[in-house]
Symmetry: C2
């Protein structure tokens, strides 16, 4: 059973780490495929909630990063969930084009041959 939380209560549940970031998983809302993992700070989470477009915090560039702002490969938000202990977010998204900067549909295209 999924509990629905008003936006302020939802944001209040997030435990940002020492760098002010929270791990965020993006999953294709239709196929269920896990597309990528990125990080959000509070501002990027607020922007994502306000605009309905996934916006992350780029740790390499140290700046806000609206997914697809240069590539056009945007992520429209379908659902945003938070885990039991508040340190991970799960975005269910409608992905335009490939999610990965390599052009692969998902960033997870290499697997252990076990």
């Amino acid at each position: 059973m999924i509990e629905k939380l008003p936006t302020p209560a939802f944001i209040g549940k997030v435990k940002f780490d020492a760098n002010g970031l929270v791990t965020t998983v993006a999953q294709d809302a239709t196929s269920g495929e896990v597309l990528m993992v990125a990080w959000m700070n509070e501002e990027s989470l607020r922007l994502t909630l306000q605009t309905g477009q996934a916006t992350y915090w780029s740790r390499s560039r140290q700046s806000l990063w609206r997914k697809g702002e240069t590539s056009g490969h945007t992520q429209q938000i379908s659902e945003i969930l938070i885990d039991c202990d508040g340190d991970t977010l799960l975005l269910k998204v409608r992905q335009t084009g490939p999610a990965c900067h390599t052009g692969a549909p998902t960033c997870f295209f290499q697997k252990a041959d076990i």
Copy 2:
């Protein structure tokens, strides 16, 4: 197209962070549901690959944590993937019982009412 990597090459791709950890997403291999996010160090990854049972690093207890070792709610590995930049793993698992310590099927049972 998924690339298969022999185990040593796979482990060699992992970029462990300053604490020696890598973010790890567990997904139900059948339903596609994202179950939880946890962390692995190199030893837990090797144990996971060797035993076929998900073993994480507990940051709160600072010890290896074979998922289900006390609860019985184990995760049998179906696939292990790594993302394009090597800083996140994705486990596709066969979950026994609920994945979440709260008894919920997944740790993601709270969502923003947007």
